[in-house]
Amino acid sequence: MSDKFSFAKAARRCVRLYLGALCVGMLSAPALAAPSAFRASDGAEAPAETMEAALAEDSLVIILGGGEAISLFGLEARATAPTRLFVTLSSEFLTAAVASGRIEASSGQQARAGDALVLQIDGGVVSRRAFDAERLAASNSPGAAALLASDLNTLAARQRRLHFWGYYEPTGVNAAAPSSPALEALRRSYLDPSIIVRQRRAASEARLSLAANDFLAALRNGDQVSVAAMLDPAPFLARVGPDGLAAARMRAAARIVADAGLRTALASEPSIELAPDNQSARINGVAGAWRLSLVAHDRAVFIAALEPEIP
């Protein structure tokens, strides 16, 4: 009798297992609330709310539980299984390479281990590509290497077999650095701050007014980081180069933000008129008009000057 199958027993067992799983799920839910992100250089954790800012400085390893999602500069994707991603921002692409697991972009593309979802910063198109796990493993920073070595080694072995059978063909384009390394470092120094990346995702005809509005909003809010990111990089680069750019622009932004007179004059959301030459905007402030000089580099718009208009 005891060896016979009992529907009642099986049903009770199923209910116990279901309730147990539900409890485990509830207990562990807070730990899975947000993906974990770690800096590629040293493995230090990057808080979820500052992931975009962290990406401007370093590549990230992002660990997602099944069902968890990421949203970075408009690339929105959800893990359909426990997933480890290597995410990097270049002057042209945001690339989320799947080292293990599976993700699905909100635009429908699915990527599994060995695939990468690639967002073109200009235009915002998302595509799926394969990446070379062996080259990534060989060139990875220590923090990322520690977190991804096992996944990438497994993947590299699989890719070697596929390459042998002709399924893969190496290409000459590096998504992490589409230009020469020195030029890529130069461009990243001024194109990667999140406020500039968001601007470049906008249609080209909207970028001038977006730049003017973003800058005035940052000035009103005393947002020194955004003011710094929007200052014309050229005169700073000519003095300090890409390595010193962020610090030099932050010092300059501190002066601008500390200028109470300037902030007061532009405090009440003044109207903005773009000039026909697309190189300046007229700001109608409470105490008079201002001329905002705009300059484009690599199809992003920066602020060259803000000066009172001569009556």
Binding site: E92, S179, G244, A260, E307, P308
Partner: protein, 303 residues
């Protein structure tokens, strides 16, 4: 109360000077330490303005820089504007490590504009400039790639990687500037003229121009892969994966006749190290490939 009103009146009546990034950079960046990146940034900025309008850009330089460039490159006037713009459009900026030397290298004509920079009046400026033939720089190794009898693209990639290595070896760590290359100017002029004449001759037949233009438009829209011809080398998919702004700014920059048609080179000023090579057999696209010179120069494989 009265004092508060007075204070507010003062604040609103105070002269509002605003700011300029140029002035702020001068005030907050201090005296520039030596920085390869700053020198590279200056070279890239020069390249950008020289592409748009060499004559106007030249006029914005200070007299020291104008003299240096005039001595090496010649006149920056309306007559030379097209060829100068052509040179800078396809030139790749490269800074020698830990030295005040930067070069703009155009791989199609295998020629460097080598510039010695000096920090003066708050910016890195051109103190001296000279043209150097790539073949002279890397002598006695590979000659000018266009003279290679076979695998011209392989020779082009080899020229690039060898000449960058030779440039670094010669100019790194403050080594003296190059010995003036007396023949470089005439060599550059002859090669530029040959490429531009080739382009002009190719443009004479409107049907083949239209056919190539259809391929260029497909590349710009990210649809090169769809044009694949069976059995041909057609790197459309790889080219579609290039950054959008590189594809959108590609222009047919050079043309060379072949026995059965023409080889066309498409270059974007944003990424002059990426060459798209289109072989046309009459009005039929025969093959499409891409050479990433940046990769070739750093140990990567060029297709």
């Amino acid at each position: 109360m009265i004092e508060l009103v007075f204070a507010l009146a003062l604040a609103s009546e105070a002269p509002q000077a605003g700011f300029s990034a140029e002035a702020l950079a001068a005030q907050t960046s201090g005296q520039a330490p030596h920085a390869d990146g700053a020198i590279l940034a200056r070279a890239e900025a020069l390249r950008e303005i020289f592409i748009l309008n060499p004559e106007e850009a030249f006029a914005t330089l200070d007299p020291m820089e104008q003299r240096a460039l005039s001595r090496s490159v010649g006149r920056f006037d309306a007559a030379s504007a097209i060829s100068l713009s052509w040179f800078f459009r396809g030139a790749i900026a490269h800074a020698a490590p830990r030295a005040e030397i930067v070069g703009l290298y155009n791989p199609l004509v295998d020629t460097w504009l080598v510039m010695r920079m000096r920090y003066a009046a708050g910016a890195w400026r051109i103190a001296d400039a000279t043209l150097v033939d790539g073949a002279q720089l890397r002598a006695p190794s590979a000659p000018y790639w266009a003279n290679a009898s076979d695998d011209a693209l392989g020779a082009l990639a080899a020229n690039q990687s060898q000449t960058v290595a030779a440039f670094d070896a010669r100019f790194a760590q403050g080594a003296s500037a190059s010995t003036p290359d007396q023949t470089a100017f005439s060599t550059l002029a002859a090669r530029t003229s040959a490429w531009m004449s080739g382009l002009g001759a190719w443009r004479e037949a409107s049907d083949r121009v239209a056919a190539a233009e259809r391929v260029r438009q497909a590349i710009m829209r990210g649809r090169a892969a769809r044009m694949a011809a069976s059995g041909a080398v057609w790197r459309g998919r790889e080219i579609d994966n290039l950054p959008q702004r590189v594809r959108a700014t590609l222009a047919i920059t050079a043309a060379a006749p072949r026995a059965d048609g023409h080889t066309l080179f498409l270059i974007s000023p944003y990424a002059p190290d990426i060459l798209i090579v289109l072989d046309m057999r009459g009005t039929t696209p025969a093959s499409l490939s891409v050479v990433n010179l940046a990769n070739a120069a750093h140990g990567g494989a060029a297709p």
